[in-house]
């Protein structure tokens, strides 16, 4: 039961991350390495604010803003300075590492004695029977709101343009819009979500660690692919729902593997191998081929 609960909780936290990466990886077709640093950026901002005694709820919008700025930076480097997509993400990722250290003040910050969105007077006032489920309820609420807002956004004119930019930049120009600006906008939204996920993670585990961002992109991409490939048959599911479910399924698989005796040492190796298998078998590359048909 405890295992299930923690899988659900972590899956939901990473679902917000996966929603962000879905925008860059799937919609924009942009391998955005920024996320490896914008995830801990959200956590660093959160650690700073929580220590300063600022209301935990405020950390959510502020860390989103910080992430959005990181995304804009990557976008501007790519679009305006014409640096390759992967490289511009790596440049920002590397630079943000120092920024994160400055923001948090140290490589490790513990927040056990502070109030968070999961630990405050309001939650302590809940009946004892509900309290263990409070985190999962809060997380579900945040994730569902993020998902609904994203669905709504993708149906707007601006959202249509975002989808068109990844699909066919030529068409965006024919519609008299600058595809570069749309890319920058998409990167900022994506990294805002990634940072939000980092912010929640930081409050959930009640500490900030500078290395918590390592492998974020791979983890998110795995969730996106598990969701969109594995649940491909269920046509009634929206892509965003599939991504959320994918994140939970992925976390469940990892937890199960660890429970069955997989050494944490091998976790990344297994993840990488599994990702490769899913991409090849699932035929993620097909999208590109189809586009030129």
């Amino acid at each position: 039961m405890n295992l299930l609960l923690s899988v659900l909780e972590q899956g939901l936290i990473y679902a917000v991350l996966a929603l962000g990466v879905y925008i860059t990886f799937r919609i924009l077709d942009f391998p955005d390495m920024t996320v490896d640093s914008s995830f801990p950026l959200g956590a660093a901002v959160t650690a700073l604010m929580i220590q300063a005694g600022i209301a935990p709820l405020l950390t959510l919008p502020v860390s989103m803003l910080a992430g959005a700025l990181a995304g804009v930076l990557t976008g501007v480097i790519h679009v305006k300075l014409k640096v390759r997509d992967l490289l511009s993400g790596i440049i920002v990722m590397t630079g943000l590492y120092s920024v994160n250290l400055h923001v948090a003040g140290r490589a490790n910050v513990q927040l056990f004695s502070f109030n968070t969105i999961f630990k405050n007077d309001m939650i302590s006032a809940l009946p004892a029977g509900i309290q263990p489920y409070a985190p999962v309820i809060i997380l579900a609420l945040i994730t569902i709101i993020a998902k609904i807002l994203m669905d709504a956004y993708l149906a707007t004119r601006s959202g249509f343009l975002l989808r068109a930019t990844g699909d066919n930049p030529t068409l965006v120009a024919t519609l008299a819009k600058d595809a570069g600006m749309v890319k920058i906008l998409g990167l900022s939204i994506a990294n805002a979500l990634v940072s939000l996920s980092g912010c929640i993670m930081c409050q959930y585990q009640r500490y900030f660690d500078i290395s918590m961002g390592t492998g974020t992109l791979v983890l998110a991409v795995a969730s996106v692919i598990v969701g969109t490939q594995l649940l491909r048959g269920l046509r009634f599911l929206r892509a965003t729902t599939a991504v959320v479910l994918g994140s939970i399924i992925y976390k469940g698989c990892v937890a199960l593997a660890l429970d069955m005796g997989l050494s944490p040492f091998d976790l990344k190796l297994v993840t990488a191998a599994l990702l490769l298998v899913i991409i090849v078998v699932g035929g993620h590359n097909r999208k590109k081929v189809k586009r030129h048909a």
């Binding site: 707007t156 249509f160 343009l161 066919n168 024919t174 008299a176 819009k177 030129h292």
Partner: protein, 257 residues
Amino acid sequence: MLELKNIVKIYQGGTVNETCLFNEFNLTIPDKQFVCVVGSNGSGKTSLLNIICGSIPIEDGAIIIGGKSITAMPEHKRLRRIGRVYQDPSRGTCPSMTILENMSMADNKGKPFNLMPCVNRKKADEYRAMLAQLGLGLEDKMGVMVGNLSGGQRQAMALLMSTMTPIEFLILDEHTAALDPKTAEIIMELTGKIVAQKQLTTIMVTHNLRYAVEYGDRLLMMHQGHLELDISGEKRKGLKVEHLLERFNAISIECGN
């Protein structure tokens, strides 16, 4: 009126492979004229269109619309009043969006792409009527992903989408070249109809000499970056495919192919 003045376009400038395509190229197209452009590969037809749209930079010269220079204007701003259809049917539509979504998006050209919903269900019937005139059965497939349509269907949509909103110019870059003869015929008829209806200034590049003779009121034949032929008015009316072919062969022989 669209004017190209003293256009200089050099490819691979500064290298041993430097080739000067246009040297002091001039062209004036009055409003509402339908210009057909023919010429062999590498004669500068597509470069001409790309220069007008701002898709490629030029070394010197000026592009003037209605007396105002647009030489420094970026591509997407120029395309506000230009509709463009490419040779490749996949460039004019979004494959992972439905027909309705594609049409809605095209309908929003020139308006802000803000947080308003993009699909207006009330307009679906209007789009359906537009699609019905194609006779390709697209009106019953509003919810189908455009990526699942055939090249001809996609090109027909691309043509409709690029001319939905008020524009002044229509740029057609061999837009029937990738289609089978029957579909090409449908697309050409539709093109003629739309141009006449909306009174658009049109530049159509084509390899089909018959279309070049049948459609439009001015014909340009390009060769190595200059105008080999420029026929309009009375002379244009008596023009036959054979005349064009003869001239075409003559310049090809000069080149050695």
